[in-house]
Symmetry: C2
Subunit: 241 residues, 2 copies
Amino acid sequence: MLKPVQKKSLSDSVFEQLRAEIISGRMEPGSTLPGERVLCEMLEVNRGAVREALKRLEQARLVSVQHGGSTTVLNFRETAGTDLLSTLLVTPEGELDTQVARSVMEMRSALASDIARLCAKRGREVAGPLAEVVEQMGANRKDLVALQALSLSFWGLLVEASGNVAYQLAFNSLRDSYARFSHLLTRVLADELTDLKNYKAICEAIAAGEAEDAEFYSRDLMEIGERQIVRVLDTLDRVKE
Amino acid sequence: MLKPVQKKSLSDSVFEQLRAEIISGRMEPGSTLPGERVLCEMLEVNRGAVREALKRLEQARLVSVQHGGSTTVLNFRETAGTDLLSTLLVTPEGELDTQVARSVMEMRSALASDIARLCAKRGREVAGPLAEVVEQMGANRKDLVALQALSLSFWGLLVEASGNVAYQLAFNSLRDSYARFSHLLTRVLADELTDLKNYKAICEAIAAGEAEDAEFYSRDLMEIGERQIVRVLDTLDRVKE
DNA sequence: GCTGGTCAACTGGTATGACCAGTTTGATTT
DNA sequence: AAATCAAACTGGTCATACCAGTTGACCAGC
């Protein structure tokens, strides 16, 4: 399968470079960035490119820039939003950050169960489309990659029907993080993806408006995958020592 | 109390204007934005300002711009991160969006209980500083505004000690949303803020490493505030009809 | 009739150099 | 020592030119 080649603009490169410096900690929170004109020289680009990159960093809450003053590095852990997760998931060395991965899995479990609960409470109309997805999962029970996509659809429907935008936005960030490593997780999540019984149970609980059941089965389902992934992460950590 | 006046740059204004158009739905997802040069004319600013604003919109995942092609509006509900919450909390008319507020409160409850649980599991060393905050809360039990700040410190410590970056980043967005209306919530949250017994119970559960207790008391505490706020939100909705 | 090439007219991306507007600094004045 | 003020920073705005992808109409050539 061929993928579209990714093309980066200058300001994108500048942005990524500065972001890496900040996230890695090489630029400490509170320290000041070089002036725009200096950055131009160092990076050998024009000032417009630098400014566009700085605006993006500001939007991501990684830096704070003030007219006349200087641009300072923020403590992103205390300011950034969840959209930074997919970036944090990759260490400066390009490897998977296991601690961040654990965080993502924990959040996934917590959100999923509450999403299902809310859905049973006030989004029962989604049970129909949901059942269709589960049916397709049944038809593709041997194709893990297809199941991955269907599972994402399943939870996408659920989170939308939950009527909770906060969860939806957090879900977006989790999904983006997931996308970065989905190919590695296909097999690790096999048990969860093929647990059709649980998907159906969630579906039925929502259709029946049984919030507690929906919450219970979701938590159960999530814990299956979380357990497996944590096991892999623990192994990874042990190997690296 | 005087507050520093906020000074907006041109690109900030452009950004906010376009963001409002997108969030309000006046610009539909999938539709294309006018070209940069056209925007310049319409907004009467130079192209640099427009481009900086577009970069920020891109970073916030509200639009997608491609070289040579056109700039299209994204469905922010399916792409943005939690940092958009504080913006969504205010309707185009400048009022509080009660549905978003409910979402925020629900997420708060879900996160808080899991944060406390994780803290008891692997962040017990925070019990000391935590106890200090609780002690200060006791000393200021009559000053609701002080209690608000201390409560934020309490949860800030907790989320940091939980060792879960995903929760920390989500917490940042919740905190920002909260900040916008904290003055209105001072009295509504009075019962929660003065429930010292519960704060202490959480504190002790964490010190003892009792994850289930920490989770239970947190959920209990959050539900106090959530119940009150939901009651107010329901009233607001009823009045507006 | 289809494929593939070419070209013009879009779109956004980069570059430059000037100037405006706040902030900081430090020498000067009181 | 404290207040003052002007240079020398910093970022913000601007106009203009040109580079670089994208699109679609058009036109060979098989």
